[in-house]
């Protein structure tokens, strides 16, 4: 890395004042909603959904007030600390839980509460006829609360609480229609894969506790300077494992496609806009550790690069509209991970892309939901086509999302993704060439598969099944889509604001993640920009030729080896099965054997020993007062005698 990089002054958080001191309301409001809906039972069936939606908007309102307060302060004074609960304040073992309100967490708060509230509104329409919608809204509120805990936590411990909370909400929502065994098993898959990641994170937290003597960000960040390199690398890699599980990064990505079993608003909120980006948040929040452990940071970048290509390839072959979008999510988070792994040059852009992606991907998921709504819940794009006429609003809003994710100027994705590609080309040796090329090629493939998705759904021949009558969705669903489409179009421009000296998002995040000086990619910036647009154009053209201009077969052709591989997620499940499950089963069997003979033997033996000892001792308890008195006397004599002897 260049020496031009300057570390931002470590911002110390002052006790919260003003609006920030009621930041706990952000979490409390949706949590209250979840509690009322879950505990209130059927009585809240009627008002429940509206109440949940209202509380989510209220939380957004609090977020706006906090944002305004922070905007009015100096950049260095924008971090507020809020102590919520302290176990023993003046003891030798103090355990405090608190919130950290700083630019990074507030950026997330805005994304979560705004997109979350829009999706609440959308769900009012989407889930209207579901008999169990009260439970659905309760879980949505629970999710929003847990996600806010995750990003507002002031320590890894509380972050972990939120981390598990969103995992729980995600599990409950994926399996929401659990009368379908496939959906229930998808929920379980997500659960198990996430356990692997969580294990990594929890070991990281324990290691931090041992190394730094605390797990709050302030203590950890302070302790990093004095810790040894290999410990830091280990912590970094363990954090990466946690991030991979939650953010569906290689090699823990297999659950995300199956998670699409949940209702579409859930896919939009949890499995596109917010929860799956928690891994990126974790890496950026731990930037002090990754800055001090370049090997771990490089691992993050490599994982991101692999995933972005992997997801893009898988996306090319999926015919299920939601699974294609899921593959795209995976790939886009790969971009964010790559950026986060690049160090100070990339942190701000990782978050920037995360924000714009939150809008355009949520918008496209809601669009997909709207399409499904009009097409009897079908998801096979080979039976769509030509929907642009029937669903004008959905087509237009989806189209804006499509342009955004492609990175077509001046839509949102252009500003955020282009910066990541540029950043990937910064550096020395092989790194910029490999990572940069991956990012560049990924952009081209993204253009291909997203255009394929868009054309197959909205253009070309109508390949509808006989029983469908596509129609536009009601206002309550289309309005949120329009708002998100607005974000897809303009949020990038707004946050990047090319006419300012530094992009507003960069200067906003600078106090947290540090500033970086002028960087020079190994290729000139205009060349990179041109190359990217060229790749994108080629991608669109190829998709146009194959999926708009020519007829799309209603049954998927056999396809090439690569296509077939991509359809089954590049054999990820098979690899998992061969590499982990089967040996795992063998290992489990042998462990069970050892456990049965050895450990259980030991534990059972120990229990038997205690039990036997206990039964024998019990006989001393004869029930006769005389023998009790004798025991006492013996005790006195023994103690006195022994003390005399010792004396």
């Amino acid at each position: 890395m260049h020496s031009l990089i300057t570390e931002g002054d470590a911002m110390t958080a002052a006790p919260a004042t003003g609006a920030a001191s009621v930041a706990w309301l952000l979490v409390a409001l949706p949590l209250l909603g979840a509690a009322i809906l879950l505990l209130g039972g059927r009585r809240t069936n009627k008002v429940g959904p509206a109440l949940a939606t209202g509380l989510s908007w209220a939380s957004f309102g609090v977020g706006v007030v906090v944002l305004v307060q922070l905007l009015g302060q100096d950049a260095g004074a924008r971090a507020h600390h809020l102590t919520l609960w302290s176990w023993v304040p003046a003891g030798s073992f103090d355990l405090d839980l608190g919130m950290l309100v700083d630019p990074l967490s507030v950026a997330f708060v805005m994304l979560i509460t705004f997109v979350g509230s829009l999706i609440h509104v959308y769900s009012l329409g989407y889930m209207e006829h579901d008999p169990d919608k009260r439970r659905f809204f309760a879980y949505l509120n629970l999710f929003v609360a847990a996600m806010l805990v995750l990003v507002l936590a002031d320590s890894y411990l509380l972050l972990f609480v939120g981390w598990e909370g969103v995992g729980l909400a995600s599990y409950l929502l994926i399996g929401f229609w659990n009368w379908n065994p496939a959906y229930a098993s998808a929920a379980n898959k997500a659960f198990f894969v996430n356990r692997v990641g969580d294990l990594g994170l929890s070991i990281a937290i324990m290691t931090m506790f041992i190394t730094f003597g605390g797990v709050d960000y302030a203590t950890v960040n302070e302790g990093v300077a004095g810790a040894n390199q290999s410990t830091l690398t280990a912590i970094g890699l363990l954090l990466l494992v946690g991030a991979c599980g939650k953010s569906a990064q290689f090699p823990l990505q297999s659950w995300l496609g199956d998670a699409m079993a949940g209702p579409t608003p859930v896919s939009a909120l949890i499995h596109a806009a917010t929860m799956v980006t928690a891994g990126v948040y974790l890496v950026v929040r731990s930037h002090v550790i990754f800055d001090a452990a370049p090997d771990a940071a490089l691992a993050v970048a490599i994982v991101g690069a692999i995933t972005l290509v992997f997801g893009a390839v898988v996306g090319c072959a999926k015919d299920d509209i939601k699974k294609a979008l899921a593959a795209s999510t995976m790939s886009q988070i790969g971009y964010m991970m790559l950026a986060a792994g690049l160090g100070p040059v990339g942190y701000a852009f990782a978050i920037f892309h995360l924000l714009t992606h939150g809008f355009f991907k949520a918008g496209m998921f809601l669009g997909a939901g709207s399409v499904m709504h009009g097409m009897n819940d079908q998801v096979n794009m080979r039976r769509f086509g030509g929907l642009s006429g029937a669903m004008k609003i959905t087509w237009a809003t989806f189209g804006l999302g499509w342009l955004a994710i492609l990175g077509v100027p001046p839509f949102s994705g252009f500003w955020s993704k282009d910066k990541i590609i540029e950043a990937a080309f910064v550096g020395e040796g092989w790194q910029p060439w490999v990572l940069g090329t991956a990012a560049l090629v990924g952009a081209g493939v993204t253009a291909f598969y997203m255009s394929r998705l868009f054309f197959m759904t909205f253009h070309g021949e109508k390949r509808w099944t006989d029983d469908v009558h596509p129609h536009e969705s009601p206002k309550i669903m289309t309005v949120p889509m329009m708002v998100l489409a607005g974000g897809s179009a303009f949020l990038g421009l707004l946050l990047a604001w090319p006419f300012a000296e530094t992009a507003p998002i960069v200067s906003w995040l600078a106090p947290v993640v540090g500033e970086h000086g002028e960087e020079h990619p190994v290729l000139a910036v205009p060349v990179l920009m041109g190359l990217t647009l060229l790749f994108v154009a080629v991608g669109i053209f190829l998709a146009w030729r194959q999926y708009w201009n020519e007829d799309v077969p209603e049954v998927a052709p056999r396809g090439s080896v690569l296509t077939r591989a991509a359809r089954v997620d590049l054999y990820q499940d098979a690899v998992n099965e061969g590499l982990f499950m089967r040996p795992g089963i063998h290992l489990t069997r042998s462990l069970v054997y050892v456990d049965g003979k050895g450990v259980d033997g030991a534990a059972g033996g120990l229990a038997a020993l205690v039990g036997g000892f206990s039964s024998r001792l019990r006989r001393l308890q004869t029930g006769y007062a005389r023998s009790y008195a004798l025991t006492m006397l013996t005790g006195v004599v023994a103690v006195l005698g022994a003390l005399w002897v010792i004396q």
Binding site: V610, S627, A629, M632, G635, V639, L643
Partner: protein, 519 residues
């Protein structure tokens, strides 16, 4: 021949506000006796419950408002009203209030459900039948409780051995009677009372003998005078000191149920009326540990290197035997009895740390454990089969299916006994063990044993929770609906268990601030 002039009579100065809580309790007890004799039978129960709780709460208020500012050694040097005794007396009054609320449970009958309508009648006799038929309801248990509380309050503040002995007897005698008052399984109850009385008398003898030896050594029964004698090495008869200390300690360790002086505990706990068991387990233990703290910290601490090792061994034995024996118990009350033995060991670990933070830790432990215990025994009293208490473990199977709230609360209390984080049990163990670890090798050894013993007892509790939730319900076992007073009592106990686990800072701070003896 020189005539011996009688010593000039000096009036003892009494700080009345300092000892007013004790006066209130004794007055309440005397009034209670009169109520028992003169009030109409139909109203007696209600009057006694109101009177007793009223007196206890009033004493607590007086203590918190006035006595706090009148810390002194008063009543001619025999009673020390200092931070420690005030904290312990306050805790005692609070726990006794909860205990009385639980004792008041009638389950719709005329008198307290747990107590016999006529204590003097022979079990199974016509007299007993007649008393039951006539709907007799005796409520002498309430004044008896007040007398016991008085004894305990004296016990924790006694500053000389004579007062200590008076306190011991005042608290013991009512408890012997209360143990024998059970309405059901009266023979078992009376047997327990007799055993408790015989062994209690035996231990009192040890105490008295030890006190005599210490008096012989120091020429005074005053704790401070004994301490001075030890420090200045001015005792005439050096050889009396060690046996004196040991024998006095034996008398006190008997009350807390330390091994090998614990044998009465399971029998008395099982036989006594269940609410009395809860009261006894919480308050007797608290009073006795209060006395042990004062004796060892104020009185005989100076030569502790001579006797400490003996108590260390007793503490280890207590934890191990209590934990191990709880494994094979099949009766809930006996199980909790052995658990209380183990807890006595844990508290002793704290006492033996000999530091100021240890005093705070021990006092916190006593409060936390007492509240949990009374609530737990109150719930044991609610679970019935065919009208009598279902105390056998097999009867608790599947309780969670039919009575989720009762089983849930009980499971929570068991987790507190086990010392799971976010319950008072964890905080208390932490507060008692941390000073022990800092105190040296023997402290570390005791803490290691303590943690292992906790693991064994945790197994016992978790097994009971599993039994309640994951097995088929036993036939005909029901949990009765508690009345308002005992609901308040149980709620208080559970609330203290929660608060002392989740936000212990305030109480811990209070205990630490109070951990000063007046010398």
């Amino acid at each position: 021949m020189p005539s011996v002039m009688p010593a000039e009579f000096k009036a003892v100065s009494i700080d009345y506000l300092a000892v007013l809580p004790m006066f209130l309790v004794v007055a309440g007890a005397l009034v209670g006796v009169l109520v028992e004799a003169f009030a109409p039978r139909a109203k007696r129960h209600a009057i006694q419950v109101w009177l007793t709780t009223g007196v206890l709460v009033a004493a607590l208020v007086v203590l918190a408002v006035w006595s706090r500012d009148h810390q002194s050694i008063t009543l001619g040097g025999s009673v020390a009203v200092d931070g420690v005794s005030l904290f312990l007396q306050g805790t005692l009054l609070l726990l006794a209030t909860i205990g009385v609320l639980v004792m008041a449970e009638r389950f719709g009958g005329t008198g307290s459900d747990a107590f016999t309508p006529m204590g003097a009648s022979t079990p199974g006799s016509h007299q007993e039948d007649a008393a039951t038929r006539a709907g007799y309801a005796t409520s002498e248990v309430f004044p008896l409780t007040l007398f016991a509380v008085l004894g305990m309050m004296v016990f924790v503040s006694a500053n000389d051995l004579i007062t200590l002995f008076v306190g011991l007897e005042v608290l013991s005698l009512p408890l012997y009677v209360m143990t024998g008052l059970a309405r059901r399984r009266r023979l078992l109850s009376q047997e327990a009372a007799l055993k408790y009385f015989l062994l209690g008398a035996f231990s009192s003898a040890f105490f008295l003998f030890g006190a005599a030896l210490l008096f012989g050594y120091a020429g005074s029964s005053d704790l401070a005078a004994i301490a001075t004698a030890i420090r200045t090495n001015s005792g005439d008869l050096e050889g009396l000191l060690l046996p004196g200390v040991v024998l006095v300690l034996v008398g006190l360790l008997f009350k807390v149920g330390a091994v090998p002086f614990h044998s009465w505990t399971p029998d008395a706990y099982q036989g006594a009326p269940t609410p009395v068991t809860g009261f006894m387990a919480a308050c007797t233990k608290l009073a006795a540990f209060g006395a042990i703290l004062r004796l060892t910290y104020v009185g005989v601490g100076a030569n502790r290197w001579d006797w400490q090792i003996g108590v260390v061994v007793i503490a280890i034995l207590t934890m191990v035997v209590g934990a191990v024996l709880s494994v094979t118990q099949t009766d809930v009350k006996r199980l909790l009895a052995y658990s209380s033995v183990a807890h006595a060991g844990f508290i002793l670990v704290g006492v033996l740390a000999f530091s100021q933070s240890a005093i705070g830790g021990v006092m916190f432990y006593l409060l936390a454990y007492g509240a949990t215990t009374i609530a737990a025994f109150a719930i044991v009293a609610m679970v019935r089969q065919d009208g009598s208490e279902a105390s056998h473990l097999s009867q608790w199977a599947g309780l969670g299916r039919n009575h989720p709230v009762v089983a849930g609360v009980f499971a929570f209390l068991l987790l507190a006994f086990a010392g799971i984080p976010l319950t008072s049990g964890f905080t208390a163990k932490f507060a008692a063990f941390a000073p022990a670890v800092e105190s040296g090798t023997s402290g570390v050894v005791m803490v290691v044993v303590g943690v292992l013993a906790s693991a064994v007892t945790a197994f016992v509790y978790v097994r009971l929770i599993v039994l309640m939730y994951f097995t088929e319900p036993a036939e005909g076992v029901v949990a009765l609906q508690p009345s308002v007073p005992s609901t308040i009592g149980i709620t208080l106990g559970v609330a203290i268990t929660v608060v002392a686990g989740v936000a212990p800072a305030v109480v811990l701070q209070l205990a630490n601030n109070a951990s000063q003896f007046l010398l």
